[in-house]
Symmetry: C2
Subunit: 255 residues, 2 copies
């Protein structure tokens, strides 16, 4: 099986390397940016291009792994062929492919990817969608070679899943960034937070996050909350502190 | 060495059990609430009381592990004795003990504790403070029996550390709660998020959280952001999404 990657970002990098590791052949990498295309192609040992009209036409699978804002436009510029076309986006519907190709679907791995960081694909949940039952079987075989956690999900539900993932990952990671900044301001080494961060994530494997909640906000301890607010100079951080503390307290009262 | 616990909450529960495990004797547990006092005392196999005037007077260490709002008042009601008195609070200064006893300090373990969940104390960072060098040595020996990660820190710095911990743990956990709610609304099993949550926490062991940031907000992809905002009915969740997305983008531009 030969695969062409359209896109060479974080997700494309880790997914193509994982596919190669399980024996799939990556035939070519395309990226709008020459440097990104070459960088990934070197790792894969395959040809690259930054010209959509030079895409190989005989691949079995075309993986479109692009920013949402350019996905539709790039799809419209690729010549129809007999391969299956899939995208990897959480919030884009499957029907962006309609009218451009006959065999299409979605291959969405729910994970945070960085180019330079290896991750174990076998535990990553994959959410699939396909335009016919035959394509669904085809895609399921591919995903099952990568992960033990594969299921089908509609575009609409996947959109909600992606929104939840933005909270669980992107917002969580930004909260880490803010807490690191607070320690840097005081010249406290940030790695003292790692056992706390690890335990916070580990805890919800054995209890629900609402049962795991601790800290001053849950009982709305105004004493501590007001002292903390007075320590925050940055107006955005102050607003984040206020909003999240209120939301924690509201949640606890609803329990 | 005999220890009296004044307080029987999440932190008191896990700390007293950990102290007992390393061979320290817990002589008594006090809690304002009879039920809490008894519950912890049963686990420790020691006497309990809900009457401050019935506190044992011959202990070596008194651990005040109470809500910030009542700490000062409870301290003022305990009869002076020859033991060392410490509290376990992130945001309370050491000098709350001044005038009430001669030997005092702070024993602050940076971790999230729940009564029913065991945690490995050996990796928990402990932050100590004491009113004399002699008491500092005494307290350091106690903390070092529990953890390999022990250091001294002033009340003022500890306050900043506690603020950072509220972000890293309490706010992070609440973000998990919100993401779980989004999935529950769609009847998607929430455990599909666990590999993502685990990797988000694991990532910052090998890169800074700002380098680890991914998702639509970092490039301020208004396409996705507006679709997500339209999906959020709860005004607080909408406000949290907006504020955090803006903050992520601002942070990325400052890099």
């Amino acid at each position: 099986m030969k695969i062409v990657f359209v896109g060479a970002g974080n997700l494309a990098t880790r997914l193509s390397l994982a596919m190669q590791r399980v024996g799939m052949q990556i035939g070519q990498v395309y990226s709008h940016t020459e440097e990104s295309a070459r960088q990934l192609a070197v790792q894969l040992g395959c040809p690259w291009t930054n010209d959509l009209s030079a895409l190989q036409e005989d691949a079995d699978l075309y993986v479109f792994s692009l920013k949402d804002t350019v996905l539709q436009e790039v799809i419209s510029k690729v010549k129809p062929n007999s391969g299956m076309w899939v995208h990897t986006a959480g919030s884009m519907p499957m029907n962006v492919f309609e009218g451009y190709t006959r065999r299409f679907g979605v291959l969405y791995p729910l994970q945070t990817f960085s180019k330079g960081r290896n991750v174990s694909f076998d535990v990553i949940p994959f959410f699939l969608e396909a335009n016919t039952e035959k394509e669904a079987d085809y895609l399921k075989n591919i995903a099952s070679a990568l992960s033990e956690n594969v299921r089908f999900m509609s575009s609409e539900k996947r959109r909600s899943l992606h929104l939840a993932a933005v909270f669980a990952c992107n917002f969580t990671n930004h909260i880490y960034t803010l807490s690191y900044k607070l320690l840097e301001n005081e010249s406290i080494p940030a790695d003292v937070l790692l056992p706390l961060i690890d335990e916070t994530a580990a805890k919800i494997h054995s209890m629900s996050p609402s049962a795991a909640q601790t800290g001053p906000a849950i009982r709305y301890d105004e004493n501590v909350i007001n002292k903390h607010l007075a320590m925050l100079d940055d107006p955005d951080m102050k607003a984040i502190y206020q909003l999240l503390s209120r939301s924690i307290h509201k949640e606890a009262q609803n329990e």
